[in-house]
Symmetry: none
DNA sequence: GAACGGCTTCACCACTTCTTCACCAACTCG
DNA sequence: CGAGTTGGTGAAGAAGTGGTGAAGCCGTTC
């Protein structure tokens, strides 16, 4: 039977994203994201290289409308970044666009060892 | 006559899994799983290293749709883990992924660093 | 019909994750 | 440069999820 595109495994840069398992892998290492964290990361990854506005991110994950000054998205981004840094220290995936939102674009940083 | 792939004996780590006998062996020791327990274990073992979501496990064993808060899968996992620990105390086979499901990956638990 | 084994359900508890808050750093604009 | 706004971060309480032992149910065996 066919697999919907949202369930297909994504291979981006050094990442393997498995929607069906809610897993993000860097080589043989697991990022260990929670369900919410994965939803955020996957949602951004699907829109690779585009800036996604905060309210849109919020609605996509929590549904409903984001309140002004709600920090839920920021906190979630922080946690995802942290966990990814543990498994891929020399990479940056989520970039901040001040006053707008976030953008997923894998970029290698200037650290030495790649593993 | 030919044997379907799901009936082939699986050799994984220190385990021998015989689908046609519904037996799991560790060396010459039998795990002594019941039919249900074997179904669970075998189903996960066939998907080695992938995270299988709870509702999928449920459907695979009981059929139908898993109710929210249904603990059948958890309890079954508990029993399988227990019986395997009796025959292979220094191994872990079934790993929990919080909020998602379970993953079969044989790992030695004793104090010897490997990664 | 009593004993037994396996399956299901329940309740309690430990642990993980989520949400919110406060404080500080970074950025924008005049 | 200074005021105001936006994002980064750590922490704490709340909420959710899984581990676990045991009781009840059911069919089978003796």
């Amino acid at each position: 039977m066919p697999v919907s595109s949202s369930q297909q495994v994504l291979q981006i840069a050094n990442l393997e994203i498995r929607p069906h398992e809610l897993q993000v892998l860097v080589g043989d290492r697991r990022a260990g994201l929670t369900v919410r964290e994965f939803e955020l990361f996957f949602m951004l990854a699907q829109r690779r290289d585009s800036v996604v506005q905060r309210p849109e991110i919020y609605t996509s994950i929590w549904g409903g409308t984001m309140q002004r000054r709600d920090r839920s998205v920021d906190v979630l981004v922080r946690k995802v970044r942290h966990k990814l840094e543990l498994v891929a220290p020399e990479w940056k995936y989520i970039h901040t666009h001040f006053g707008i939102g976030y953008r997923f674009s894998p970029e290698r940083t200037s650290a030495s060892g790649d593993r």
